[in-house]
């Protein structure tokens, strides 16, 4: 099973690189750092197009909307989108914009502005509980996103309401747009902050699929919402992009793409 999800992640990483190159869109480093997070949650929770019409489905929300290509890569890999769909990414007339818009199966929320997804996820988790649904709600945030006050409003709220069906994941790649996330604000110690707020915190290697999947596998026994603080590397998987924040905005040229795909490997 883990071989399978490893292959899935590799395939997603290739798609992310190809989309960025083809469409000339930025945020590649941020998209590469959360590949395993999305691969793990879609795979663990068996998020598939067949369950989309069911309101009681498990839902995955991408709050860090600038990683739109990672979401689209997951949706391609898990059967929501086709290669033809992906070919339209960021092209005029396409519904696959740089940041996700609502309306397509698989896209639970629009994102692009930070500090929205966790609050929406809380609403969905409450709706599921009020209606007796088994749904789990997963939401992926960035570390830079934790600059936003609404993240901490949500941090205060969810444990009070014992939303054990809520699973948040922070892509803690240690960078935000223009600086180290631990330097721009006093973000560290991030896991301790969430523990202090009353969340069930798992601190994992955000590229270790098994570790992420274990953290996603069971709701907290004490009814707390789950926070997975995932230590990641920005630009993960491509040696010359890893931990280099220039790739927040840079777009790979043809030669760089070829080198990157070679490093990522054959799917």
């Amino acid at each position: 099973m883990n071989d399978d999800v490893v292959t899935i992640a590799r395939r997603m990483r290739r798609l992310v690189l190809e989309m960025s190159h083809r469409a000339g869109t930025p945020h590649l480093g941020s998209s590469l750092s959360c590949v395993e997070l999305l691969a793990a949650v879609y795979h663990s929770w068996n998020v598939r197009p067949e369950s989309w019409p069911n309101p009681q489905r498990d839902r995955v929300l991408l709050s860090k909307g600038h990683a739109g290509t990672t979401l689209y890569a997951a949706l391609r890999t898990f059967g929501f989108l086709t290669d033809d769909d992906l070919a339209t990414y960021a092209q005029p007339g396409s519904l696959l914009g740089e940041h996700p818009s609502p309306g397509l199966p698989g896209i639970e929320i629009a994102s692009g502005s930070l500090g929205h997804g966790l609050n929406l996820a809380i609403g969905l988790a409450l709706a599921a509980r009020l209606q007796g649904w088994p749904s789990r709600i997963g939401v992926i945030l960035s570390d830079g996103e934790c600059n936003e006050g609404t993240v901490w409003e949500a941090a205060l709220f969810a444990p009070r309401h014992r939303l054990a069906n809520l699973f948040a994941l922070i892509d803690y790649n240690k960078w935000q747009a223009t600086g180290r996330s631990d330097e721009v604000t006093a973000l560290a110690p991030l896991a301790e902050k969430w523990r202090a707020f009353g969340w069930a915190v798992h601190e994992v290697d955000g590229h270790d699929l098994s570790a992420i999947q274990t953290a996603l596998s069971t709701p907290d026994a004490d009814g707390r919402p789950t926070m997975i603080v995932a230590h990641t590397v920005k630009g993960k998987g491509v040696s010359f992009m890893e931990d280099d924040n220039n790739w927040h905005y840079r777009v790979p040229n043809a030669e760089e793409l070829a080198r990157a795909l070679t490093e990522v490997g054959i799917p």
Binding site: I109, A110, H116, N119, A121, I122, G123, A127, L156, F157
Partner: protein
């Protein structure tokens, strides 16, 4: 009006199990009956308006009918981006109730005044905005809002507003309601200022100005058939609102009018000035400062009617 809201939402929640009431830590005791009957469907989000709107949007995505409730100024300005992105962009059925709107909290100072809320919400796509004049209009519009498929902002008063209708009127979102006939001037009143408008019409009548009064609660979408009628059949249309002259009902109608063929009637907009009100004092005092009492409304109209030198 807030008591009527609490009563009405409690009654509606009994028939629609999807209704969830979220409060931004206000309404002390007001919602006790709601909480007693539907403890799971009342959520005090705390003093966190942006979170409240985001959670409401998530509830709506999950099939519920959330209603948020807090003081209008905080409901709108504090949560504007959540209203735009979470509620507006997703076009979700969230009813946002802003209580104590306009100058209802005059004594609390400009932090609590909301004379720009309609202006800033009106430009958000998918938004419906209604400002009921009294408890009966509120009940009618709340019922209709909970049937509406998209977001609604209900801009309501506080307490003790004069009751105008007496019974719940047949009022829908997007429809204005003629309350008093007249054939020279038409007063389009938006929100709780309607009672002043009705008194102003009495004063004008005493001076020989026949004045029609229309309760015009819905700023978006405008009741265009009514506007087409009054602008073609009357000589002066006056908007009255406890909101800035920019961007409220008067502003919306001015924009609409600009795109119409030339009309017979002229438009006069009465509202709050482009200024923060620093003076202490209750709503009546603030209305006096802003020229929004019956007497000053009547004076403004009489001046406008005088032939230009």
């Amino acid at each position: 009006m807030r008591n009527a809201f609490a009563e009405e939402i409690t009654a509606l929640a009994a028939t629609d199990h999807r209704i969830v009431l979220l409060s931004g830590d206000i309404g002390n005791r007001l919602f006790d009956p709601f909480k007693a009957r539907f403890p799971d469907r009342f959520i005090n989000v705390g003093v966190a308006e942006a979170n409240m709107v985001g959670i409401a949007a998530g509830l709506a995505l999950g099939g519920m009918r959330p209603v948020t409730y807090t003081i209008a100024s905080f409901a709108v300005y504090r949560a504007y981006e959540q209203i735009r992105v979470d509620v507006g962009y997703h076009n979700l059925p969230v009813v946002m109730v802003g209580t104590g709107a306009g100058l209802a909290y005059a004594a609390n100072g400009p932090t609590h005044h909301s004379c720009e809320d309609v202006a800033v919400l009106r430009v958000i796509p998918n938004m419906t905005i209604a400002c009921p004049a009294d408890a009966d209009e509120l009940r009618a519009l709340l019922r209709d809002s909970l049937q509406h498929a998209g977001p609604v902002y209900l801009r309501i008063g506080k307490k003790g507003e004069p009751r105008i209708h007496g019974t719940v009127p047949e009022m829908r979102l997007g429809r204005a309601c003629v309350l008093r006939p007249g054939h020279d001037v038409v007063l389009l009143a938006c929100g709780t200022i309607l009672s002043e408008a009705l008194d102003a019409a009495e004063l004008l009548e005493e001076h020989g100005v026949s004045t029609e009064v229309v309760s015009f609660p819905t700023v978006k979408p405008l009741d265009e058939p009514l506007l087409e009628h009054v602008f073609s059949a009357r000589s002066m249309i006056v908007t009255v609102e406890e909101h800035g002259r920019a961007g409220g009902l008067g502003g919306a109608i001015a924009e609409w009018l600009t795109d119409q063929p030339r009309q017979k009637a002229r438009l006069l907009r009465l509202g709050t000035p482009d200024a923060f009100l620093h003076e202490a004092g209750e709503q009546e005092h603030a209305r006096e400062l802003c020229g929004l009492t019956a007497v000053s409304i009547a004076h403004a109209i009489q001046s406008a009617l005088k032939p230009q030198a």
